[in-house]
Amino acid sequence: MKERHGYKMKLKNHRGFILLLLLLIIPLVADSNYLYSTLVIIGLYAIIVQGLGILMGYAGQISFGHAAFFGLGGYTAAILTTRFQWPTLLALLASAILPGIIAGLIGRQTLKLRELYLALATLSFGILVHIIFNEGRELTGGPSGMSGIPNLSIGSFQFDSDQKFYMLVWLILLMLLIGIYNLVHSRTGRALCSIRESEYAAENAGIDCARLKLHAFIFSALLAGLAGGLYAFYVTFISPSPFSFHTSVQFVLMAVIGGLGTFWGPVIGAVVVVALNELLREIVPLLIPGAGGEYQIIIYGVILVGLMIFQPKGLSGIGQYFRIPLKKQLKTDVKIRG
């Protein structure tokens, strides 16, 4: 759901960004590699889920195959640097572009499908790509994966520490956030929303739905690929297993938990899911002595179900509890107009 002040379009609310920036400085003080790497992972997921959020939340097109783009990005970076000795920065660029191109190729046909059928089609695409990772042994190293991916470097500057990587990833994310903020508050954002609401009416209002959906799909694939490339350079080892169907589901969960069609939703979703996982790993053994992963899994599932029951619009919708009753709302609207 789009925020109600959508028609007040000026970038008056920089506050969200400022707070985010402040928050991002805290870890620099804390100086903990664990925190950095958790934040790197969160940042990577947030990049992916931002793209997925545009696709799902705004354009209303579900995808259960984004782990494939994530993986395609990762493998592109890995293969280009280890097998063809490309410079890392160039490989990173390619890791975003290639998934984008593939999305462009498959999108036109696939995006004609709706809802569950689209979910199924993207799911099968995801599984197909995963099989290719496993089977393309000469190129991908098969199930055992590839190691020896170099560190990302710009000139002689190497992103070799968690801290540097943390800053890189969140800088990229921040820039993306600003771009996406502009996007969703623009003509294009509005057109995307109208596709979600009624493709039929949107088309009759002169919006080229097929093209716009394709653009959103390509965009989300680009972001997933970029995150994949960053992942490969960060972990320096890559194998098919992190790019399975489970991961695609995880991305959808993040998008939905954060809140579809909201600006901050994807970031919130990525933070919450990763943080929840980490927290459960820490807290559960304290509460239930001797507990292993099984309790974590159960609790994670229960929290997920609970969220969907009590907060089906996602966490970023929590703000609605503070909503001013409609009457006042109406008055302010009139005043703004006057």
Binding site: Y117, E135, L253, E294, I297, I298, L304, M308
Partner: protein, 291 residues
């Protein structure tokens, strides 16, 4: 060569019987509640694991079958009341995610109770495989087909010929309309999940002897069932069965004749083809025209 093809066909039928029983349970819930229950695979696993435990107490197999069906049916109903019922009115996507959450929790529960070990269940009938024309057919798959046939007949009978069946169908087509006629949707959704649990457990106990049982195999079974159901048109019970058998045969022949590593790829390509060119499924189109 002929012998080899026959063997592949038999294997395909065995796999197909597994996929179709799961697709059948998925489609039944989907038809009645509009919810694609991704926890269906977990019902299957829990049914089978319960059967393993019950069988350990020395119960006869028939009693084991019945008790685990009843227990999982209760579990299905319970979960519906606890989750789906409370979330009623939420979007399809929310419901889908609720079932994902359920499947995650159930998997954790199974891990907690039964651990990571793999269990086996005894076949319904004694004796090894039946040799036909030099190829071996697993007798358990005949049992599974019997279960599929019984379920299918039951479903057709219920929806086609009973007043209640029509009421359920009506509630699928138009919820408000159904409520205004006095049809209680909550009861129907509840019963659908009871049925899903029971059928899932029945499927689990009968496929267990072939597949073995581990706590985490539900997800993969669910996905395969999902694919089979989609090939059959997602809302068509007959289609689900045919889709399942087709998927099984496809997998068997592609791994036997082409490459075992690519068999899933081939079935995915078929699925994509079906979705893009015949989104109603292979059977759906025919049925739709009849109406």
């Amino acid at each position: 060569m002929g012998e080899q093809l026959l063997q592949l066909l038999f294997t395909g039928l065995t796999l197909g019987s597994i996929y179709s029983i799961i697709a059948l349970t998925l489609v039944t819930t989907f038809n009645v509640t509009g919810i694609l229950n991704l926890a269906q695979g977990e019902f299957v696993v829990i049914g089978a694991l319960l059967a393993v435990s019950l069988q350990g107490t020395g119960m006869p197999m028939i009693a084991v079958f019945i008790v685990s069906v009843i227990l999982v049916a209760i579990l299905g109903g319970l979960l519906e009341r606890l989750t789906i019922y409370r979330a009623r009115g939420a979007s399809n996507l929310s419901m889908l995610i609720i079932t994902i959450g359920l499947s995650i929790s159930l998997r954790g529960l199974a891990l907690l109770i039964w651990g990571t070990e793999t269990y086996s269940l005894p076949a319904f009938s004694e004796g090894g495989s039946i040799i036909v024309g030099g190829a071996a057919l697993n007798p358990q798959s005949i049992w599974i087909f019997a279960l599929v046939a019984v379920t299918l007949t039951g479903l057709y009978g219920f929806f086609g010929h009973t007043f209640w069946g029509k009421a359920v169908k009506a509630s699928v087509y138009n919820q408000t309309g159904a409520r205004l006629q006095g049809i209680n949707l909550n009861t129907i959704s509840f019963l659908a999940f009871v049925a899903a649990g029971g059928l899932g457990a029945a499927a689990g106990v009968s496929i267990g002897p072939i597949t073995m049982v581990t706590y985490d195999m539900g997800f993969m079974l669910g996905v395969k069932g999902f694919v089979a159901a989609a090939i059959g048109g997602l809302s068509n019970v007959g289609g689900a069965v045919i889709g399942g058998i087709l998927l099984g045969i496809l997998e068997s022949f592609s791994s036997g004749l082409i490459s075992s590593g690519l068999k899933d790829a081939i079935s995915m390509i078929i699925l994509l083809g079906v979705l893009l060119f015949r989104p109603e499924g292979i059977i759906g189109a025919i049925r739709e025209r009849k109406i």
